[in-house]
Amino acid sequence: MTDISTQKTTRTQGKFDHLIYVLRENPVTLLAFIMFAFIILSALVGPAFVPYDPLETNASRALQAPSWKHWFGTDSVGRDVFSRVIVATRLDLSISVAAVALSFVIGSILGSIAGYWGGWLDSVLNRFLDTIMAFPLFVLAMGIVAALGNTIENIIYATAIINVPFYARLVRAEVNIRRDAGFVRAAKLAGNSDLRVLAMHIFPNALPPMMVQVSLNLGWAILNAAGLSFIGLGVRPPTPEWGIMVAEGANFIVSGEWWLAVFPGLWLMFAVFTFNLLGDGLRDLVDPRKRT
């Protein structure tokens, strides 16, 4: 047939090639991935390499400004701020990853069901989500943690609950617009049951926009956990956690000892910033339309 394309038939990309392509295409993505790698590394092996024990106190070294001995200075009981900041990475990261994973799974299931089958399931879900979203989210998290107890698990559950609506809404919308698409009907004609069509054909197409949401959420979750700790509801001292450290440091900033609060805060910002930058890159990675 004369319709054969005049395009060169190039070798199509495998998954790894696509990763390299995405990283090269957008320098911001590359930067984000490098920063992300650094954070993961410090979470995984950081505690083994820090110069001082994050819990070790030494009153004689209290409140020392940043120096070559203590890069980030020392706090009110003489602990090395740098070591504490790095060790806190593991905790904060685990909390946010666990919370986001939980809300991703629950939100996706609820949203898919509501978006695909509609009807009363959809109405009920909407009312339920409206109710959760009616509470200013941080306030709700505060309430849940206060009610259930000041443990790390509860912080994770609280953060997960308040984030479910975002995923559920997003997935619901994405599933809804594709529900009657040609390829969905074709999948049914090919003998797939409704569940298979939803899980294997429709849902994977909702992944690219969800990736952006996931990365934003990872950032929010860290901010949430830190905020809760800041008002005394989250992680308890002396565990090193960015939020607590800023809270403790806040008392000293008015008297000029800025390093107690500023370094943990900057690190917190750095982590959240990385996750936000990562969003677009993750989406490009997951979107087949970006492949050439």
């Binding site: 047939m1 004369t2 319709d3 040609g182 390829f183 090919a190 003998g191 049951s193 339309r289």
Partner: protein, 551 residues
């Protein structure tokens, strides 16, 4: 009045500069309607955007001149151009509802243009706007003035767009695919209106379209474009009867018209004999008193109101009708994606309407009834390669795996003319015609007895359409499939089908053998439909088909 010389337009893209228009020259006389015809990517729309200087950011005129009544369009200041746009040169676009501001009353949108060009003051703007509405033959103009675009039909929206364009009495009207997406009867109404208004006001016009037949019917002269260049210009009749350039000849051949065979859509060298397809007397599909009613927002909607018809083994039946007639609903019910409200559908003697749609996926009859979908882009999963898409039914219903599966996929690819290198590509890496082939390969993978084709070529260029239609003809002869072709394009239906069913408002108004219904229609609606379809000039009787009948 308009002189274009060696015009070239280029776009800056990520992958370097792309030349959309590469040196074209033409002239437009006063009072003349010029048709610019080409397929997608020919640069026909870009030309008009360049003349109006409304190219997207990144596009610019890099060479040549364009003069309008002495004014240099290329070098005019933006201020001068704003003055010209809407007042001297106006443009109307495709997709009329999207072309109107959705949250602004249509009357106000007309006023905006009038006041911009100082054709009306705050005080008489409303009166003048209503006059503009009346000029495009809108009844009840006073009431329509207050309407929002979403409250109006497609045809009405296009009239409003015309009203906006003509409000300030321009000398030149550019119409960019104004009828694409509209029903045939609406198409005719809009084109007739536009032509009448142009003649009345002694305006000139450029009609941009992909439909050579439409251009031949309404234009004084035609210009054919391909890949940013003009390949031929001239009188419409002459172009149809004696096309000079090979591309023009290809386009002319591919335009379906009365009295020719489906092979004549292809270039001469590809016209092999049409294989015969056998039609048996026994019915494969029998539809009895089909009814579908569903709950709309303002009361029940009767999509299908008591339809009955038969499709014989090996027969190709065409289902024609305009949008909203119920043909899509009918095909969804027949393919068992939707349940009927009442009535029976007998497939090979078995009542398949008794089996619920949601249970049909696991039914052994599933592989016997398949569908080729409209809009090839939407019908392929963006995350699946062509191979995966074609393999899906083979895996799920045919339970094929491994070497057997691969072999069958290759076999199907060859059958539909898809090069195997394209099997590992994603839909966004394929052309329209290639995607259509993937959709067909998927549909025939399990050798169905009955195939519903839902506007399979609506989104394709005319030359690609020719190829795909011929492919369908070859396949049916080889595989003995019965077709139900759902289409709004009467010429295509005539070429492909043995039997035709005409639908209106959920009911069959006429049905019968294709020749009889198309040549001697009995029902008024059928007659309207046939009269509304563009009639390209017939070619001379010296048909160049090697041996055999043209029909």
């Amino acid at each position: 009045m308009l002189k274009v010389k060696d015009l070239a337009v280029s776009f800056k893209t990520r992958r370097g500069d792309v030349q959309a228009v590469r040196g074209i020259s033409f002239a437009l006389a006063r009072g003349e309607i010029l048709g610019v015809v080409g397929e997608s990517g020919s640069g026909k729309s870009v030309t008009s955007y360049a003349l109006m200087r409304i190219l997207d950011a990144g596009g610019s005129i890099i060479a040549g001149d364009a003069t309008y009544s002495g004014l240099d369009l290329r070098n005019a200041t933006e201020r001068d151009m704003r003055d010209i746009r809407g007042r001297e040169i106006s443009m109307i676009f495709q997709n009329p509802r999207a072309a109107l501001n959705p949250i602004r009353k249509v009357g106000h949108q007309i006023e905006d243009v009038l006041r911009q060009h100082a054709q009306a003051t705050k005080y008489n703007a409303r009166t003048k706007a209503i006059e503009a509405l009346k000029a495009v033959r809108i009844n009840d103009a006073e009431a329509r003035y207050e309407a929002y675009p979403f409250e109006l039909s497609g045809g009405m929206c296009q009239r409003i767009v015309c009203a906006i364009a003509l409000a300030c009495n321009p000398r030149l009207l550019i119409a960019d695919e104004p009828t694409t997406g509209l029903d045939i009867t609406t198409q005719k109404a809009v084109m007739d209106l536009v032509r009448d208004l142009i003649r009345e006001r002694k305006m000139s016009s450029i009609l941009i379209t992909h439909d050579l037949g439409l251009a031949a019917q309404y234009c004084d002269r035609i210009v054919v474009m391909k890949d940013g260049m003009i390949v031929e210009q001239g009188d419409p009749k002459r172009i149809f009867i004696e096309p000079q350039h090979s591309y023009t000849r290809k386009l002319v051949d591919a335009t379906p018209r009365q009295g020719e065979s489906i092979r004549s859509l292809l270039p001469v060298e590809d016209r092999i004999d049409i294989p015969n397809h056998v039609v048996y007397d026994a019915p494969l599909l029998e539809v009895r008193n089909l009814v579908k009613t569903y709950q709309g927002k303002s009361g029940p909607v009767h999509a299908v109101k008591d339809m009955s018809f038969k499709i014989k083994w090996g027969q190709s039946v065409g289902l024609v009708g305009e949008s909203g007639c119920g043909k899509s609903t009918t095909s969804e019910i027949l393919v068992r994606l939707m349940d009927a409200t009442s009535g029976e559908v007998l497939f090979d003697g078995q009542d398949i309407s008794a089996i619920a749609a949601k249970d049909f996926a696991k039914n052994p009859l599933r592989s016997d009834i398949q569908m080729v979908f409209q809009d090839a882009t939407d019908s392929l999963n963006p995350r699946h390669t062509s191979r995966h898409t074609i393999a899906e039914p083979l895996r799920q219903l045919g339970k094929m795996r491994g070497a057997k599966l691969t072999a069958r996929i290759e076999e199907l690819a060859t059958l539909v003319g898809l090069p195997s290198a394209l099997l590992d590509r994603f839909p966004h890496q394929l052309s329209g015609g290639q995607k259509a082939r993937v959709g067909i390969a998927r549909a025939i993978a399990l050798e169905p007895k009955f195939l519903i084709l839902d506007e399979p070529t609506a989104a394709l260029d005319v030359s690609i359409q020719a190829v795909v239609l011929n492919l369908l003809v070859d396949l049916r002869a080889k595989l003995g499939i019965s077709y139900l072709l759902v289409s709004h394009d009467l010429h295509v239906v005539r070429l492909l089908c043995d039997h035709v069913i005409v639908m209106k408002d959920g009911q069959i108004v006429e049905q019968g053998p294709a020749d009889i219904v198309m040549n001697t229609p009995k029902d008024d609606y059928t007659k309207t439909l046939l009269a509304a379809a563009p009639q390209p000039p017939a070619r001379r009787q010296k048909a160049q088909i090697p041996g055999g009948n043209p029909c």
